[in-house]
């Protein structure tokens, strides 16, 4: 179902949702950039071009959280507004890990109590490469509804029942000319992406290649790429008093696989960086049929030594 409404109408709706939901959306924080944060007033919500520094996975896979049965799960309903399509695709990939064979109730609870309303990208920068990995700025996978900015209006594509509850009564259905304009707008968005690379089919045969040593040489093992990745999900389990704490962890860290005996199966940056690339572009594909990367470009934007995973896979000697 597709509907259209004035932006003022939408703003009023957001204000009314503030009573029912914890509303979360991109918010500009000083000169640090955009971050997904709880929205207190309409002015906080930023619905323009750009991408948040952190992905929205932090609302589903919480950076540090107690996993005891006695810990009371948060029950309040949440609404995320303004998520980029690549974000929601990232969540679909996390679903394959946390809502599959062994079900992670903490993640699933967070999924169920959250409604995701996306905003089709208004711009893409030089690091975005979603279209190279099967996504695009109008992708609705993982969304409950997706907004399109159309001058004074928003057009919304309603995907799920949750989305329909929010938008079913807002505005009206599109007239023929409005629909035509929306389709034109939508088609144009697919061309926003300037960077196009070829993702490899599999990498198994170049596992031993010296290439991995070369591309990881500059890596500082800082782990920022994994923390800011919408699909990286490795974690540590720590005992805190009598409670079990889950914290984000990273395959970039040398102690991630270090065993008590002193043996480390991934002793150098070569093995660790190769693990990250293989997990994303080979192992996950073997196990779940998709790359574990949505092309959001965060790891490229934030890497202190400018390692560019899109170039690493594009130039792999396959």
């Amino acid at each position: 179902m597709i509907r259209i409404f004035k932006k003022e109408e939408f703003n009023k709706a957001v204000v009314s949702w503030l009573g029912e939901f914890q509303v979360i959306g991109p918010k500009r924080i000083g000169n640090k950039g955009l971050f997904y944060e709880p929205i207190e007033a309409m002015e906080d919500l930023y619905l323009g071009p750009g991408i948040t520094v952190e992905p929205m996975k932090k609302f589903f896979l919480i950076p540090s959280e107690y996993l005891n049965s006695s810990s009371v799960p948060e029950k309040n309903k949440r609404l995320i507004v303004g998520a980029n399509p690549c974000e929601a695709r990232g969540i679909c990939l996390l679903d394959k890990v946390f809502d599959s064979e062994y079900k992670d109730k903490f993640y699933i609870d967070n999924r169920q109590r959250t409604t995701i309303v996306g905003l089709s990208c208004i711009a893409a920068d030089e690091h975005c490469f979603c279209t190279s990995l099967g996504g695009d700025p109008t992708d609705t996978r993982g969304m409950d509804a997706l907004l399109f900015d159309q001058q004074d209006n928003f057009v919304v594509e309603i995907i799920t029942e949750k989305g329909s509850q929010l938008f079913g009564a807002l505005g009206k259905e599109l007239e023929a000319d409005e629909k035509k304009e929306w389709q034109k707008n939508k088609a144009k968005k697919k061309g926003l992406l300037k960077k196009k690379i070829n993702a490899p089919g599999s990498l198994g045969h170049i596992f031993e290649n010296e290439y991995w040593k070369e591309v990881s040489a500059g890596c500082l093992s800082c782990g920022i790429c994994t923390y800011l990745c919408p699909t990286c999900h490795c974690f540590d389990l720590v005992d805190d008093e009598r409670k079990k704490l889950r914290c984000y962890d990273s395959c970039a860290f040398s102690d991630f696989t270090l065993e008590t005996s002193g043996h480390n199966p991934r002793p150098t940056k070569k093995e660790r960086y190769r693990q990250r690339v293989f997990h994303k572009f080979d192992y996950f594909k073997t196990n779940f049929g998709e790359n574990l990367c949505v092309g959001c470009g965060r790891c490229i934007r934030s890497c202190p030594v400018k390692i560019d995973i899109s170039q690493v896979i594009a130039n792999a000697p396959i």
Partner: protein
């Protein structure tokens, strides 16, 4: 929905000092109904937690055919195992599991079995050995080669008599160097295999021990005619969640905790695994 990370309280009902730094803890769930319903395959493992110290992964070393308790043998190494060694009979720990694939019992049925163990590597094999002895008719000849650095490092000594006397079963014990009053074999495990020349026909070799032992045992087994599909091992790798999610124990696309820990050498070769 069940909390997959939640350990269940278990009590230490007995402790056996195996060697200077290895103890076997015998555990029972605090909840008797959990104890009754707890079922597993030889080769599966549990996440064992000492409250406030953390979790560590241990295989269950007793056979499911003898499961009055859950036995875990623990070598004193790091933070969790040191804390474990401080515990006494009656103390409480946490357990979650069982995890992992376990040994492929159906593929082992009707075969000659060659068990090759080094040091504490006997722990997962002990579960399978006793399982096979309790289902003796399902298996052909059983040969056990068990080695340790010194006689003091041999584990499960109280079992040897029963293994030696079991029908169609041979036990070869060996230590690395000659000792006073030692009457069994002398030499590292691969050397002993070369000496006893176990038959490869209709046989499966099940190998577990330190990496160095496995590295030198593998070529000997291949030379004896065992194919990589008929050599299986159970791997140790740093594990945390036991559920294939936390991301550290993978070899290629497979997780040691979920898809293993039991693999054939044919599989490990395909996965680029280096011994």
């Amino acid at each position: 929905m069940e909390n997959i990370y939640q350990p269940h309280l278990a009590q230490i009902v007995d402790i056996q000092q195996e060697t200077l730094d290895v103890k076997t803890f015998k555990l029972k769930f605090k909840d008797p109904s959990l104890q009754d319903s707890f079922d597993y395959k030889p080769g599966q493992f549990v996440e064992f937690s000492v409250p406030q110290e953390g979790e560590a992964t241990f295989c269950i070393s007793n056979s499911p055919t003898r499961k009055t308790t859950i036995d875990c043998s623990v070598k004193k190494m790091g933070k969790v195992t040191q804390a474990l060694h401080e515990l006494d009979i009656g103390d409480m720990v946490g357990i979650r599991g069982p995890y992992g694939n376990g040994f492929p019992l159906n593929e082992l049925k009707g075969k000659n079995l060659l068990f090759v163990a080094g040091g504490i590597g006997l722990a997962p094999l002990r579960s399978l050995i006793n399982y096979c002895l309790d289902n003796r008719a399902d298996f052909k000849a059983i040969t056990i080669v068990n080695g340790a650095r010194t006689s003091k490092d041999l584990v499960y000594k109280t079992e040897y008599e029963a293994w030696k006397n079991a029908k169609g079963t041979q036990l070869h014990l060996t230590v690395d160097c000659q000792e006073n009053n030692w009457t069994c074999m002398v030499g590292v495990v691969p050397k002993i295999l070369e000496q006893i020349q176990p038959a490869c026909k209709d046989s499966v070799a099940i190998v577990c021990g330190p990496p160095i032992m496995i590295k030198f045992t593998l070529p000997v087994l291949l030379k004896l005619g065992f194919c990589p599909e008929a050599i299986i091992t159970t791997l140790e790798m740093k594990m945390k969640c036991g559920l294939g999610k936390c991301g550290r124990c993978n070899i290629g696309n497979l997780y040691v905790c979920k898809d293993g820990p039991v693999f054939s050498f044919a599989q490990l070769k395909r996965l680029n695994y280096e011994l």
